[in-house]
């Protein structure tokens, strides 16, 4: 395994606001990584920093072992797609599809053509006149057809309907299987992509709260629910990520329960249910009681 992205003690401040706060993580070659987090958590800023579009305040970023800022040999292997991408005034979609291949040596024109048909993208219409979903589709087409060894998708689906999003996920997975590469996808629609992701990085307030294999995460937490007194006594001393009380009933999201713990809980008349990736992210980013990096 080789690391495609290595980030050490990365910090980015805008004035007094700290968008990225001392992040360290790495991304291995050939994998689909999910970058999850709430609005304003720092996902876009992080992607902009990784692709050399923003300048770090401090810390170190290495892509393919080199710093990305103003470095063509790195940036030639990177494609970054964001929902809010600006395009030149008066551009039509076909202008983008004509010019993008000059910047991606591995561009697959046949795939691009197929995707244009799949998304029913009107290529001879001005981008300003396209719907939000069509603009998103254009970005997705460039991102997939670029076949860049390292591709960033920053919430690329806004305005895309459910069918189009499914096309995106299917195409991404199919093309990834044939042409392995590294994909970093930031998204809010966690349940939709949870089967796609091999690794999950969750950031909140500019800090990493989860950095773990998706498989490990899926079984890592359990919702324990029942009478408040029973839930509280069971929770005591355990790793509680999140808890809620309604009337005399409570539920708690607890990580790291073993078979014995489960038996105890059932013995005390508590209900156990698995926690989806989305619930896990919600639990960890609403009350950050515990560092998840280690426990997951």
């Amino acid at each position: 395994m080789t690391a495609v992205i290595e980030v050490e003690h990365l910090t980015k401040r805008f004035g007094r606001f700290t968008a990225i706060d001392d992040l360290s993580f790495s991304v291995q070659e050939h994998g689909i990584y999910g970058l999850l987090g709430r609005n304003g958590a720092g996902k876009t800023t992080l992607m902009q920093l990784l692709t050399g579009q923003q300048f770090a305040t401090s810390g170190d970023i290495r892509l393919f072992g080199e710093r990305p800022v103003e470095n063509s040999s790195v940036l030639d292997r990177v494609c970054s797609i964001k929902e809010s991408q600006r395009y030149p005034d008066e551009y039509q979609a076909h202008h983008v599809l004509t010019s993008a291949p000059w910047f991606f040596p591995r561009w697959d024109a046949a795939l691009a053509g197929q995707l244009v048909a799949d998304f029913r993208l009107p290529v001879k219409r001005r981008i300003k006149k396209l719907s939000r979903g069509q603009v998103s589709a254009l970005g997705v087409i460039v991102g997939l057809a670029s076949r860049a060894p390292l591709t960033f998708f920053d919430e690329p689906y806004l305005g895309l309907d459910a069918v189009a999003r499914q096309i995106f996920y299917d195409r991404l997975l199919a093309d990834y299987a044939e042409h392995p590469r590294t994909v970093l996808l930031s998204t809010h629609l966690i349940d939709e992509v949870s089967n796609l992701l091999e690794h999950v990085i969750v950031i909140d307030d500019g800090k990493i709260v989860i950095d773990a294999e998706a498989d490990a995460l899926r079984g890592s937490a359990t919702t324990v629910s029942g009478r408040t007194a029973a839930v509280e006594s069971f929770s005591a001393g355990r790793n509680v990520l999140h808890s809620e009380n309604v009337g005399g009933l409570s539920s708690a999201v607890i990580s790291g329960l073993g078979p014995d713990d489960r038996a105890t809980a059932i013995g005390e008349g508590l209900d156990l249910s698995p926690v989806s990736l989305q619930q896990l992210v919600v639990a960890t980013t609403t009350s950050r009681a515990t560092e998840w990096k280690e426990s997951a």
Partner: protein, 243 residues
């Protein structure tokens, strides 16, 4: 590096409508409007009054539009094409060099076309009607290389003034433009005060006349080069603005 820069040049020409289509369409329209006016003047005047009118037509600003248009092209190139290019994985350095080359190609291309049009206008005696659109008095009445120099040089001036202003905007947003505008206003005011206090307005007027169109465009080129270099350094640390 060469191919990296050349693809930026091509990027500015992908949408030919913006850099070639619209300018020529508007220019054709302006030309037809002028042609009509010349026709009316020609039809309603004779003898000495026609000669006087034709002389007056020499003071034309009809082709000035295209220079202002190129300033807008430059603004858009920095404000919109820059974030697009960065999204495609272009370095700021490559973008600046490629954009400078694209501007130079456009300036020389348009300069050559305007020069040819000015000679056609001259040889046909103002399109048969004594009109002037490409042979304005003072600015475009020399040999071909002088006209090419004036047209292309003036256009480069507008390109780089536009691009340095847009670079300031992209890097520091509207606050940057406010500071830039205020700085220019203060410098201009200082020069006016200086010229007035030293009673040198007459001398300034004479030196403008003495410099001739070549001299004036030469100074505009100096300003263009300064703007280009300043724009390069401003853009070097700029971050793209998202929609």
């Amino acid at each position: 590096m060469t191919t990296h820069v050349w693809r930026i040049v091509k990027l500015h020409f992908v949408n030919k409508w913006t850099v070639l289509g619209i300018p020529w369409l508007v220019m054709t329209f302006i030309f037809l409007v002028n042609l009509t006016i010349w026709g009316v003047i020609y039809a309603t005047t004779t003898g000495q009054s026609r000669t006087d009118a034709e002389q007056g037509l020499g003071y034309t600003g009809a082709s000035f539009y295209i220079f202002v248009y190129m300033l807008i092209v430059a603004l858009q190139a920095i404000n919109n094409t820059f974030p697009y290019a960065l999204g495609l994985g272009v370095t700021r350095r490559e973008f600046s060099f490629g954009t400078g080359i694209a501007f130079a190609l456009l300036a020389v291309g348009y300069g050559a076309a305007l020069t040819i049009l000015s000679f056609i206008e001259q040889w046909t005696n103002g399109w048969g009607l004594g009109g002037h659109m490409f042979t304005a008095i003072y600015f475009s009445d020399g040999p071909w290389y002088a006209r090419l120099f004036v047209f292309a040089g003036a256009m480069l001036f507008f390109f780089f003034i536009g691009s340095v202003a847009a670079s300031v905007y992209v890097r520091w947003r509207s606050n940057g433009l406010l500071v830039l505008g205020a700085t220019i206003a203060v410098i201009a005011l200082g020069l006016v005060v200086l010229a007035t206090l030293t009673s040198s307005w007459a001398a300034i007027g004479r030196s403008f006349l003495a410099a001739g169109s070549i001299g004036i465009v030469g100074w505009m080129l100096v300003a263009a080069v300064i703007a280009a270099i300043a724009g390069y350094f401003v853009l070097e640390r700029a971050t793209p603005r998202n929609a």
